[in-house]
Symmetry: C2
Subunit: 314 residues, 2 copies
Amino acid sequence: MSRILRIAGAQMGPNQKADSREAILARMIALLEDAAGKGAQLVVFPELPFTTFFPRWLLADQEEVDSYFETAMPNPNTQALFDRAKALKVGFYVGYAELTPQGQHFNSAITVGPDGSILGKYRKIHLPGTVEPRAGDRFQQLEKRYFEYGDMGFPAFRGPESWGRPVTGMLICNDRRWPEGWRCYGLQGVELMLIGYNSAAYDPMGGTTESADLRTFHSTLAVQANAYMNATWAVSVAKAGNEDGSGLIGGSVIVDPNGVVAAQAKTLGDEVIVAEVDFDACRQGKEKMFNFAAHRRPQWYRAIVDQVGAVPPP
Amino acid sequence: MSRILRIAGAQMGPNQKADSREAILARMIALLEDAAGKGAQLVVFPELPFTTFFPRWLLADQEEVDSYFETAMPNPNTQALFDRAKALKVGFYVGYAELTPQGQHFNSAITVGPDGSILGKYRKIHLPGTVEPRAGDRFQQLEKRYFEYGDMGFPAFRGPESWGRPVTGMLICNDRRWPEGWRCYGLQGVELMLIGYNSAAYDPMGGTTESADLRTFHSTLAVQANAYMNATWAVSVAKAGNEDGSGLIGGSVIVDPNGVVAAQAKTLGDEVIVAEVDFDACRQGKEKMFNFAAHRRPQWYRAIVDQVGAVPPP
């Protein structure tokens, strides 16, 4: 069984509120075809790629909020992407706003296999932002208002035989900055981490100290180090650019199990990056430096689960 | 109270087995004086700086092993460093091989205040290497043979008033690659992480895929990202160069709470790096992106403490 897979990150430029669903889906299909043309067998799309990033606004009307959500996946608004991918025998990771039959709202992602089957699903656990809007700010970060916290944990799954059966994990946006999520996947032997994001190009909580360059650096750094410390490949893909007047960083990246960048986007627009990924390259780290069974000391890690916030010494 | 502290990393070149204790201590005192001359109020020395890195050899004679250990700190072999630091009103972090009155062996570090008092102590938890030597290898990594695992957890402490009372943590060498230790300090509000290391310039477990450049990159990356993800300053200091025929990486580094390198060593020898550290620069991260109380979800992190090794899906 070959354990080498050609993977693409399909960075997207901005989706304006005025853009139709059809126009955005057509761009995603064009990216998929571009990636397939470059030999990619798996294409990673951003978080919430089907619409603009609506949590930047306080929306009073729940019907308007729900118009950004998918009640099934696929559904008529997204079916063409699934059909084209299946025809091309290309799998994909895609984020979406999920509205369940029970009326729950999640920030979710799925990975779809080359045969069109859904291989795995994840609901974002580390929701950033606030429930209530911050007075006076032009843009909000209201994910905690519109979404419930993910309730599925960090469930790794095996990719198909044609991909080399990699142990695969999914994270969404802010999750990539939290080593706990990576480690929960690491403890399942993760070899491939798939991540989509929408990250403001300024401090979304109102500060002025974080430039787009610094925030792109943070984004790349977190993925590099967590990939290294869990000896996994990682593909982290942005929606980027000036979206409805609010800036989003780019910097989509494919990182190897040493934390070394294998490919990185250069623009803030629609852009495909590709890397050839050898899952056996994870073995060096997993068997030596990060042989967890040999080296971890969980009896000293209890604060990680016993405590939520920081408690400084007196 | 000023929260700005001038900190030095005192990278050391190699200590050959043939070097006398006195000669090595004299080099450490020279580094201390160099750092004090550059205005440093706190100097960070490497792991096990008083001798060569003895775990690279299989030593049959326990008396010889114990000759590398300190039965008290300070003791006549190290007193001159403590005296000079106190006279200069400079604090320091220093590693040492600790032999307790009960006969226990630990890979330890202490931080000494500007008045000569011991502010905190740490015993290395993530011991790398093996208990038994690997057949056929010229150099071993026998820390698991010569040391017991640290038994004090990750105890943060406050620095003195003259330093701005920073919440301070200590790690030793391999610990810096394990996000669990960093997080346990992060949950105590750490603002300053002190680390000493001896890291082989090749794969110490016998592989050939890790060059000195890659291993220096790993070392810096782990410190940068864990500093960022815990919104803390970090000072990580090497013993470097060709030590008794075995190569050690350099790359000693001072990193800010954004994960940005503030100072980095350029040589593999005795070298002082200095940075001015503002502990209030930790607030942006701690109050926003890494506001743990607002954003952590420990109910989903249980595998981190319930499990030691990785368990891949079937």
